[in-house]
Symmetry: D2
Subunit: 328 residues, 4 copies
């Protein structure tokens, strides 16, 4: 092995830069050259890339975003696209490619594989923590703290005004961010896919805990953390419907894209460093079509084809506890 | 003077607690008793209050929100309400009342004044910085830094994806927050009331700078900071209309209530301390129907009745510079 | 079981309040009364305590420090002290006591046990992460991020001036904080007990990587993270000795007590909530002389007597990687 | 005017990058070329420089440190050095030079002036706020918030342990940082040059407020903010001497270099932008040997030769208030 490529793909996540750095520094330790593609797989198709030396990754560990840029790339998911990607990898004499992204991005690697003679390895980088084969994805810990910081601020106002606030967090179709940030914020109620769907007809089951909290506990504020895609019409509609039911104004805040950016927290920088280093080491050891993940604090390989299976579950202990406290 | 009251009214602002603390500590230095009303003027009408001793304000200087709670209070703006407020002040033997809030809250003081024998003084506490008679209001500096932190995070994603983002900031009918945060964030374009209205018909004047930036400067991301109430239908509508014109997706983020909360920054804690102390000192000196503000770093009194005159202007130098750079 | 006590002991750690909250809310769900002792075991000996209801723990989840105060308590470690502690527990009719602290604090529980008829359970709360039987202690994640934030700032100056800085971090006799923060900060070198002792005679082995970095990599700044107690005379002496050897000024920064305080990060709030809840549940299930810890994301019980055995090791993968990169 | 130079000199300050950016963008608006010298005046003497185009300053507004590096430069303060500096300026056909730094750095400009045919202008960039002719220097607001964040954290521990802490802040020979951060932190006592010297013989005057606070106010923690160079032997010696007098352990924390770095806060980015832009505009207008400062929110010119006169005073109102409260 002499020369490897690396790219970041899909939604950006804090820690992607730390991961690129670890790939480059570890590759240098193994005397491997590194090429970085720009804009995810688009840079691969367009031959838009740069050489990455250790000095190019100095002091990027603390920055959000990705120096290689990221993007989604529809063109890759055609036969022609996959063949072309493999051709570019061959042309640039790359023995392997490291893909930093979510399980959607890993499907791109699976599409390229039949046409490519080299090795492909994934590193889980997404704030959503919805990748099978790793306890945590790079970016998740930072997203929690960003959400938390926002909810803490909203708590100040909710408390000053004795108001009900709904805070919508990201997570696509999983509740990792909502549950984690909700528990950490001391949110009075958490709505996420894993707790079952909520429709307008079932609004009443959300009301009881609110009324209970206000009457019995004398709570001066009430915060509901809501995972995106949890209610028909979205969180603004949910706030309106709850307001109508309760006869009290409920305000909605949609955190949106601030959850993707920012300086990565320590946990994400360490995870990114560990997995980036491990990915390169395992390429040297012959790994192919695997993801470098971490389970129980151990770096492990996991088949890339199984990373999207959705068998990973959010902490059942915290789910149960939250429901016990909320219904109490 | 033996006994004074204090309340926080209107939208909460970081530094209100620091101001309450300064009022209480300064009052103690003058041997004055202090009573704090809850929920703004509502606590005054409802006789919902607490004694405030120095130990009650220990270590609140660093907290957002307000320990006295805040609220709006329609009842005060009837004759009956104003009379009742004055009666409660008399009944509790309060020689003066300190109102921490915006110019809307100060109108409450003007309503009470004809019926009250004591002194009334205001302290400007609102994130909007839209109060005449003071260079800065308590909470404004923190709101800027909160907005900035969010925009910096959005910049990471905008940059990684080479996208156009619109970020809506608060400010009711003034552009202080939008201009300040926009300049500080290095936003490529700022839309605020002071720069003139924007309607669908005038969209094209927003497009030229975008196209210019992308073509001439090779900018990898483009952020427009938008003051609330700047476009018919709101910032989401503006993003949609711009997307249609440009043929590129423009994303909107509405920062919302996170701008109101959070630990106050140093500038707000210092301003709140100075104005809270000054308000009490000036009450002792006989001030009535005045606001304790700061102009050119000097604590000054300003007639409460003139605080809402809207003659205060956002920094013309920065306005001009921003337009020069954007159009360049 | 009807009534339990809780106290925080030893060095304070961010998340202790979140843990107290979880103990109180979970106890309420089991209809248990809760009493909180002040100043660690001192409050137990002095009968200085308060009732803790759910409303007392509202909105403390986000605050550093501990509402129950903490302290060390020599008096407990005499026979008379241990007997007295047990007597107070009996007198107050407490069926169990929850001790939130480090392994030193758990020895207090072991001292009380022979004299007490109730149950004793520990929850690991210390920034040092040096407690056997749990992957992480409450406060560790926040301490890493606090250290990181400081090192990132020092990096700015080190970079602007092209200087060598030594940053001393806490950790008593373990290198968890130094290694984790050092890796996360991209520190060029990390000195901690687990990497072997450094004496004046061995200074030269620290010099080679510095000279290597400057010559080969063109590094503009160089940061060494140093665990406390790593060098005879301390980190200031190390900086002086290195300066003499290198003929270049090396500056030392001692982070000190800022590492103990601050708003807990999400990971600490979640861990504190989980372990506080689990401790109460396990008391109800009959646990005694155990610590509620977390191993591999699972809440587990671990014998209190073994929590100080020092068999826990810092991540060998990261240790090896750091040395590989530094020596490269 | 066709071509100008810019450099950052002396201790780095957050906002220097924002200022460089404003210089470059404003110069572009006037069709001026810009050259940036590295390492302060050293880069001028060594002809170590780079061209600065708008794309070179993209997204640096939010970063601490300085992309041009900074340094002190003894060589400039010899006749030969000053002559050589002027020669390089002439050789590179620079019509003017912008110096971002403190009054020490401005003396360098005064040394060059007799030998140089072009214009010299300064912009005040230092965390110390000790430059005459401007209300605030670039970096001061950020340094306050950094210090505040650290003191808030120390408060958590001080409170948990009911301890006395001394926190030493920077400021060379002025008390701006100590007074501002101390007021904002609600420090119980502030020691800075402007409050008069403290010697071992006068220790007792520091004790009375401590004892007063503990006895009368039931304060659970006590924080003294100490400006550097305030006590013979330093703040660690002061802590030891106070401990001996009080019979209670007083801990010292030296914040050190973390005060210099970090992401600039909004106020510093705005000030840096305004003064950088103004400096270039005034060069175009013919300014020479002036500093671009801000007084009463207005950008103004001030003679460079008078910037070190030390007539600027810290806010007398806050000084008086702090002493009144502390002695109360």
């Amino acid at each position: 092995m002499k020369r490897i490529g690396v790219l970041t793909s899909g939604g950006d996540a804090p820690g992607m830069n730390a991961c690129i750095r670890a790939v480059v520094l570890t590759a240098a330790a193994y005397n491997l050259d590194v090429v970085g593609f720009h804009h995810g797989y688009n840079g691969l198709l367009d031959e838009d890339y740069q050489t990455l030396l250790p000095q190019h990754v100095q002091h990027i560990i603390q920055h959000g975003g990705t120096i290689l840029k990221s993007a989604r790339c529809k063109a890759l998911y055609t036969d022609a696209g996959a063949v072309q990607a493999a051709q570019v990898l061959h042309k640039l004499q790359l023995d392997a490619l490291v893909i930093i992204g979510g399980d959607g991005s890993f499907r791109g690697a699976l599409a390229i594989a039949p046409h490519y003679h080299g090795q492909l390895i994934g590193v889980p980088g997404t704030i959503d923590n919805d990748v099978d084969g790793t306890d945590f994805t790079i970016g998740f810990a930072t997203a929690i703290d960003t959400a938390l910081d926002a909810i803490d601020k909203i708590r100040d106002t909710a408390d000053a005004f004795e108001r009900i606030f709904l805070v919508e967090l990201m997570g696509r179709h999983s509740g990792y961010i909502a549950l984690s940030a909700g528990i950490a914020a001391g949110a009075e109620q958490i709505i996420c896919p894993e707790f079952g769907p909520v429709s307008k007809a079932q609004l009443t089951k959300l009301l009881a805990p609110i009324q209970h909290a206000q009457l019995l506990r004398g709570k001066s504020s009430y915060i509901m953390v809501v995972a995106e895609n949890s209610y028909p019409g979205g969180t603004i509609a949910l706030a309106e419907d709850l307001s109508a039911e309760l006869g009290t104004e409920c305000r909605a805040c949609i955190l949106g894209h601030i959850q993707r950016g920012g300086k990565p927290v320590g946990a994400d920088r360490i995870l990114a460093t560990k997995l980036g280093a491990y990915a390169v080491e395992q390429l040297v050891n012959g790994a192919h079509l695997m993801m470098a993940g971490e389970l129980n604090q151990q770096a492990v390989l996991y088949p890339l084809a199984q990373t999207g299976e959705r068998t990973k579950q959010i902490d059942p202990y915290l789910v149960r506890w939250q429901q016990q406290i909320a219904s109490d």
